[in-house]
Subunit: 151 residues, 2 copies
DNA sequence: GTAGTTGCAAATTGTTTGCAAGCCT
DNA sequence: AGGCTTGCAAACAATTTGCAACTAC
């Protein structure tokens, strides 16, 4: 926990960025989250150690320009951000979203990679990437009385 | 061309909607487009026969409430809208987008359907749907001098 | 010390609503 | 005729920027 602070500031400096308290807090959130976050979520989760919304906005923009963070257009129209894979730690591209309680589950398998190669070959596109989101109603929300559960 | 006007107003009335000039123009655009459109694109393409942006906004909202049009969160963060399948005419769920010239190509094959069933079974989700977008650099934009081409 | 970073507030852009006038049926 | 629909303008929300004070290196 204290070590993840060290980890975050090391990561920042390795990437040529200054390590301020706000940035460290943001990076820790990105490291710890298994799902992409909105700017508002990042800002909200920092109450206490917080920094201004404009700082979140600008810092995430910097990370995206450096390709350390990826911008994801979410299926509900919001924009989310997730840190790119560090070393061996591969990250998720695919999510399963409950339309009722908005829970987000990562999906590890990737059925698209092979298809992506095929399309690249067939149509001559370069450096393809993809985004896949499934949405449905999760088991808990299918139970009538439990419908209002979750956040 | 004149016939697509008739077609559009017939479609409107079949769905219990009044056929005004603005609405007919919007519906024709939706019928003719092979890719989802933004509200701004719909509004822009109507110069002449045009109607107000608020009308586009409200009419598309009505169509979405009636589930005649589907809202799509685009990979670049914008929101797009596409008409749902009419009769036999199946529509596209998948697109290939050029990151340089922003050209959009529909993809007919669907590799996700089988995967969707599998996930539904494994995790107990109901009424799954999905959204898949591939992005890359199209053949034209890979040629150095042609990089500025496209729109 | 200096350049990069921050918070605050304002500017900008995009989305949504209220209302009186007009149009479709 | 009557209610649905429209255009206009204003309200609202979200994103982005300017600037002086501050901080990491």
């Amino acid at each position: 926990m204290a070590s993840s602070t060290t980890e975050a500031s090391t990561w920042l400096r390795q990437n040529g960025l200054r390590a301020t308290l706000g940035r460290i807090a943001i990076v820790r959130l990105l490291f710890e989250s298994t799902v992409p976050l909105t700017l508002a979520e990042i800002h909200d989760k920092m109450r206490g150690e917080g920094c201004d919304f404009a700082t979140v906005f600008r810092f995430i923009s910097i990370l995206e320009k450096k390709e350390l963070v990826e911008r994801v257009a979410w299926i509900d129209g919001s924009t989310r951000h997730e840190i790119r894979a560090r070393d061996g730690d591969h990250h998720h591209h695919h999510y399963l979203i409950c339309r009722t309680c908005h829970k987000i589950e990562p999906i590890d398998e990737c059925v698209v990679e092979h298809f992506e190669d095929q399309i690249a070959k067939e149509r001559g596109y370069a450096s393809l990437s993809h985004s896949l989101q499934l949405s449905g109603v999760c088991p808990a929300c299918q139970k009538p009385e439990a419908g209002k559960k979750g956040k």
